[in-house]
Symmetry: C2
Subunit: 429 residues, 2 copies
């Protein structure tokens, strides 16, 4: 008999079925044993009667979170959760669980398990159906993004993690022993997606891991995380890039909302946009001042989002026109105000989730900006050469879906959005 999903049981009332899943809870009550069984779709109460001696013995010996296969009769039962119950005819133990180091079924009012301990047993932690939801949000968000990319004719490229030299600066880059020499792990696909522009690809997107050797212990940093990037050619300014990102996010958020019936707000185009100097002026008015000149502290990010939310109702806000000293050398500068870059960050519910810009594609300008930042043109030559033989004007963004999903689901820590978080202290399981 073919196994069916628990969510489909109501279509099989009065019939024998096979279900498979984890033993969510076990209850012995005299001549009856109750098991709540959980599969990926739902839970159901199953009942084993004493007269079914074989099954009764098997279940008597069972432990919570073991994996079982049940053959039984589907019955309507008002007392049971969901109004459906299975009378067990046969039970097979597929995998028996040892005593659990952390609870999988969290009782109401139970104390929270420490995050470090939970992450040590991440595979048990993830058995909570609320955790699976996080990865279904990832799946649907990326699906919505890809629908947009498909409609707009983007090509996907897979950029390498291995680089011959640290990309933008030597700091915060992981070093790999590479046969007789060394390699470095890419901090972003930035240079490579720009290369695709020099190759005439015009519209590309990248999905892949990025690596940051930051000895940072905050709730929003990991050493490895997923980066979502796109880059497009023949733009007029960074406003074209923001417009594309707006459509992309709307497509992604719609997909999440519709397919998972999640209570999130679909953003509306155009998103609010304020320049860095405007943002600083607004913050000054409410008495939030930071040491960071031309950039926003985490507190300022939260506060500016709060102000924009009050003014416009939007969860998103673009901060534009960052000054050159807080931006990398390859950001294009304003013709009429060369101390400002044609760049932006996107904030979502108080956290930065994107950095974007129009890039400098004119080799002589690019070289002069690199020199101005004290960088060695020789060390950058593998990058700068991309612009030597013709390159279209272009721009793009790097997005952090972990942070986006953290805020979307109101999670306390970016690590909760990672299947297996990696940080300074954690490389296992």
């Amino acid at each position: 008999m073919q196994r069916i999903y628990i969510k489909d049981l109501s279509k099989h009332v009065g019939k024998d079925v096979v279900i498979e899943g984890f033993v969510n809870t076990l209850r012995h009550q005299g001549g009856i044993k109750f098991m709540l069984v959980r599969d990926v779709t739902d839970k159901v109460q199953t009942v084993v009667l004493k007269q079914n001696t074989d099954s009764f013995a098997v279940v008597g010996d069972l432990s919570v979170e073991s994996v079982i296969k049940i053959t039984g009769l589907v019955k309507e039962e008002k007392q049971a959760p969901g109004g459906i119950e299975i009378e067990v005819k046969e039970v097979e133990v597929l995998s028996k669980a040892e005593e659990l180091p952390i609870p999988v079924v969290v009782e109401k009012g139970a104390e929270d398990v420490d995050q470090t301990h939970r992450f040590d047993y991440r595979w048990l932690d993830l058995r909570n159906p609320e955790k699976l939801k996080i990865f279904n949000v990832w799946t649907e968000l990326e699906r919505g993004f890809r629908r947009f990319y498909e409609k707009e004719g983007f090509t996907q490229i897979y950029t390498p993690s291995f680089m011959s030299a640290p990309s933008e600066s030597g700091a915060e880059v992981f070093k790999v022993k590479y046969f007789e020499g060394s390699a470095y792990l890419a901090q972003s696909p930035q240079f490579y997606k720009q290369m695709a522009m020099a190759s005439g690809f015009e519209k590309v997107f990248v999905v892949g891991p990025v690596f940051r050797a930051e000895a940072s212990y905050t709730t929003r940093h990991m050493t490895e995380f997923t980066g979502w990037d796109f880059e497009v050619s023949y733009i007029e300014s960074h406003f074209d890039v923001m417009s594309i990102e707006e459509d992309l996010l709307i497509s992604g958020f719609k997909q999440v909302k519709e397919s998972l019936d999640l209570d999130i707000e679909i953003p509306v185009k155009p998103f609010p946009k304020i320049s860095m100097s405007e943002a600083k002026a607004k913050l000054k008015l409410v008495g939030i001042l930071s040491e960071k000149k031309g950039d926003l502290s985490p507190e300022e990010e939260r506060e500016i989002c709060k102000l924009v939310k009050e003014e416009s109702g939007s969860d998103f806000v673009f901060i534009t026109d960052y000054p050159i000293d807080v931006r990398p050398f390859y950001h294009m500068r304003h013709k009429d105000n060369p101390s400002l870059t044609k760049s932006f960050d996107l904030l979502y519910k108080g956290v930065e989730v994107t950095t974007g810009a129009q890039r400098e594609h004119r080799i002589e300008v690019l070289e002069s900006q690199a020199k101005e930042k004290g960088m060695s043109l020789d060390e950058l030559k593998n990058y700068i050469n991309f612009f030597r033989y013709g390159c279209p004007p272009h721009g793009g963004v790097g997005m952090g879906p972990n942070r986006m999903i953290m805020k979307m689901l109101d999670l306390p820590n970016v690590k909760e959005t990672a299947f297996l978080p990696r940080d300074v202290k954690r490389l296992t399981p």
Copy 2:
């Protein structure tokens, strides 16, 4: 005026338009200058007349592969390639090209440029529209796969590259300096996607880079490449896994064929399946014998594919039931013949493109199989613990899209399918 794509020019005959692209070729002919301009969609001939003095001067100074923006009148012109021509009114140079180190437009009959030299200038190499096609095949193949995953309710997971210990064996793993200690780069998401099964996710897929420190110099090895994996729970045997892969591949191949109008054969379900011992018997009949007992040499892979193609017309063939000594400890074994694993490889046009199996989910059997292979249970504990608290029976595959696309497009080398190939000798550009 908004830029339009060259492929759409025929809709604008008699009107002024803006196009942007690379100067594909330049020809000066007395009082007329001809430029073939190329964008991501097509090429078009543009004509600059002497009386347009400004533009005439600009183009006189131009080099091939520079990037330009042209405003001009679209005209029907039988002499021009495609029957369309643009009479240039204004030309703006967006980025001027220096003298090219490799030809971008390959003249008929010209000698091939050495692969190493081409890869040194990969961004110019990729300007050939035939190269872009490779990445459009990637994009569509993955799109078709994802359509299948969507229909079947798979969840996407992003597995980490950083591991605390070499995964399956110490050999061929890259070591990373990780703060005060070391980390290793995952050779596959194998252990992690199995962990998702222990978490009750039931159906997952993974797309991401995998790393192999193989000092190999063949046409089918790279140190970093893209892996496509899936894993599913509650299977009966490896035949369930093969059935899923068949549907997946059909979905992917259809998408490529339909969206790119590519002349490829859509496989038909069920694919031919022969056991390793049958394969060896077949090969013996045609006099192909290898040293490899229970496994196929590259020559044998080619030959068995040829035989199957002749017999059944199929480009694909599953080789099943590999003996235990050529398979890892975590492959499940046949109950009635414990010297054989419930595993398979999928060959496509002479090359292995997939390895799959039902995994051993019973912890006591898994431990005994690991010991039998001489492995340390202590070193494997982060993996084996996944099976300690209940784990469904499961299986899955690891696919190599690079090889699949190499064969699909009849390319001579797997590196041609990588946006930026990485091997023992190459970490740039």
